[in-house]
């Protein structure tokens, strides 16, 4: 199965304490749980996310089966209790999406569960309108209602827009992921 986080796996990870609650400043955007009818729109947005990353580094180039694998992955997440797949709808279109997962942390940690944002993307024309913030706020509610204390995510540090967004949303540098050619 295609790993959801492939395109945003980068060299750094950031953690946030879940107590923080950010205000939703935009009420024009509708945030809702995705259903099967949203799958194609999410796959299209994911292609754009992939293309942006492919410009940064060839490691992100998509394979020919990528969309099919991602489509299956999205369909399975919609019905999973440990996942929340949110879409932002504006002007009747899916403007962005965000995927939250609840996972078991590494065994040496005291935490019983940990949250992870595996994917997030807002289409260019809908940026600077509070869509990402609104998606995150709803996802934080879901994590909180499931007893999650911390969430993490990975962002490629060369993705300046992404890195800056997550910093603004209260995420902090936490762990360094390293990479080298073999």
């Amino acid at each position: 199965m295609f790993p959801a986080s492939s395109f945003i796996h980068g060299m750094f990870e950031y953690g946030i304490h879940i107590k923080r609650l950010l205000p939703n400043r935009n009420d024009m955007v509708e945030i809702r749980e995705a259903s099967l009818r949203d799958v194609e729109a999410i796959v299209e947005l994911n292609k754009k996310l992939a293309d942006i990353h492919a410009e940064i580094d060839e490691i992100y180039k998509r394979g020919c089966e990528t969309s099919k694998g991602f489509r299956n992955h999205v369909e399975s997440l919609i019905s999973s209790e440990n996942a929340s797949l949110l879409v932002a709808e504006m002007d009747g279109r899916v403007a962005g999406y965000m995927i939250g997962l609840i996972e078991k942390p590494r065994p040496f940690l005291k935490l019983e569960k940990i949250g992870r944002i595996s994917d997030a993307y807002v289409d260019f024309e809908y940026r600077k309108k509070g869509v990402g913030r609104a998606l995150l706020n709803r996802l934080l509610e879901w994590f909180r209602s499931n007893g999650v204390e911390y969430i993490t995510l990975s962002v490629d540090v060369r993705n300046r827009a992404g890195y800056s967004f997550w910093r603004k949303m209260g995420f902090e540098d936490w762990m360094v992921r390293m990479i080298r050619r073999v």
Binding site: E33, S35, L36, R37, D38, S76, I78, S79, S80, E81
Partner: protein, 92 residues
């Protein structure tokens, strides 16, 4: 397996309770029903409740059990969705 009713579609399903996860696993050809695995046990309506929650999330629509509350074979209404739409969403 799929039947148009009003502005919705009736799904003829067969439920497999106590599953590892909720999922539609395919078609039971002999019964002509969609096979749906549900995590909850068939106790005090828990599997029914989970089936309704699972399908309504999947289709983004109101879902209601019309027949078969006490049986594994159930007829379930997905409101506001046509047969063709459901067929396409499920890749049938």
């Amino acid at each position: 397996m799929l039947e148009e009713m009003g502005d919705g579609t009736v799904l003829h399903v067969i439920v497999v309770p106590n599953a590892k996860k909720n999922e539609i696993v395919g078609v039971d050809e002999t019964r002509g029903r969609l096979k749906v695995k549900i995590r909850a046990p068939p106790v005090e309506g828990r599997a029914n409740k989970e089936l309704v929650g699972f399908l309504s999330k999947l289709f983004g629509a109101r879902v209601e059990i019309l027949r078969g509350e006490k049986s594994r074979e159930k007829d379930v209404l997905v409101a506001g969705k046509g047969v063709d739409e459901i067929r396409a969403l499920l890749h049938l």
